[in-house]
Point group: C2
Chain length 247, copies 2
């Protein structure tokens, strides 16, 4: 499989309120599932505070490593919303007031109410494209491979829907989940042997408990449907053999 069939992403969550625990993040899981479904591999997530140096360092570390970097948070009208300035600084470009956003704001606010605070929401790095916001209208933006979205989940989700069609996507990662009906420790060795024999299929083991006691989900992932099917069969045969021995 050529390497250009794989499209990767990083996610940078910006906000003191996530790190203090006051706000519980709801975006990481949503974005992870969304990107997986459209054929983009989320490879890393970072959560950093509302601190320009921290944001700049994380943006530059992650944008160079992955096909795309998504950010959430810090694009509102208040003094603690510093994402646009920080991303501009990471790219070494100026922050501009975007006339398209000013016009959009003027459809919502009277000119006399469009003060400096609200105008902050129109500031984007020079050369950025806008990411539409179907929920509350004030857009996010995109500069090169960095996509800057709001932190409020409903707004972020609308922006992700808006930007997704413009993204390059790779061959989708396929997955199957197999309920082992065994304790994780009882299948650890044979499962490891099956994983070793199927190196192109990523295999993970996730213990859980329900009314019937300890159990395990085995998750197999591959971009190749035939290899995935062969690995699934091997895992199912392994489970039958283990349960036979246990009985």
């Amino acid at each position: 499989m050529a390497s250009n069939d794989i499209v990767t992403a990083g996610l940078l969550v910006i906000g003191d309120e996530i790190l203090s625990g006051r706000t519980k993040d709801k975006n990481i899981g949503y974005i992870a599932e969304y990107l997986t479904a459209i054929g983009i591999d989320l490879k890393e997530v970072r959560v950093v505070p509302d601190d320009e140096d921290e944001i700049v360092a994380a943006v530059n570390a992650m944008r160079s490593r992955y096909s795309y970097l998504f950010t959430t948070g810090g694009i509102g009208p208040t003094h603690d919303d510093i994402t646009a300035d920080s991303v501009a600084k990471a790219f070494g470009v100026a922050v501009m007031e975007d006339q398209r956003i000013i016009e959009m704001l003027l459809t919502r606010f009277k000119p006399e109410d469009l003060h400096e605070g609200r105008r902050r929401m129109a500031r984007v790095p020079h050369g950025a494209d806008l990411v539409p916001n179907p929920v509350s209208r004030v857009p996010g933006f995109r500069i090169e491979n960095v996509i800057v979205m709001a932190g409020i989940p409903a707004v972020m989700q609308g922006m992700l829907d808006g930007v997704a069609p413009s993204l390059q996507t790779g061959i989708k990662m396929l997955s199957v989940s197999i309920r082992a009906d065994s304790r994780e420790g009882d299948i650890a060795l044979p499962f490891g042997a099956v994983a070793k024999a199927h190196p192109d299929v990523i295999m993970g083991s996730y213990p859980f408990s329900d009314d019937r006691g300890p159990n395990t989900n085995l998750v197999l992932r591959s971009r190749d449907p035939e290899k995935l099917a062969a690995a699934k069969e091997a895992v199912e045969d392994m489970l039958i053999a283990v349960r036979g021995k246990a009985a």
Copy 2:
């Protein structure tokens, strides 16, 4: 305030299943809130895949930066549980089978059932201390300032309770939340002015909507109760002035 009054932490979440979106992380918010409550500032979170190089790089980047580094995930019996090996590699030490864990496992399993897979759970970096696990008994471990915990929330929470009394903690960050009864954009400028006048109090603004329409929570944080009280009064005066102008 002396710098040793501030104790910081990083959190490293290890697991393909979080990045694929299959499992939604429940540990970040819990740990953030827990550490804040005991006087440790969570400064950064990273989520990385089950990949040794990625884990080693993140452990080394974060353990040198913060007073403590907590990790979750990857300490079970299967081939994809590589946290102990990765942390040992980050410290440049060998992984040893810990006799205390073997003995504990022998209270749960017959010697003939204690195969190589289950014995994996006894492997810890040389020199590590154990972190007790009141839920499912197999412990986590601590090496220098790195605390390695399970990924299953109930187990992680038990381990955190076990390790917390041994941690150095700083002066607690205090916070107050003020419901603005204003739209975020309407208070952005005066709120920024109050923040500027109270540089030792961190002020954040969090818009939300309820039945009565758009609203904003203002969160003020400081380690100094007097400075926090003065800032709270200034914010409340500001809100009265803004609402008076709007009425």
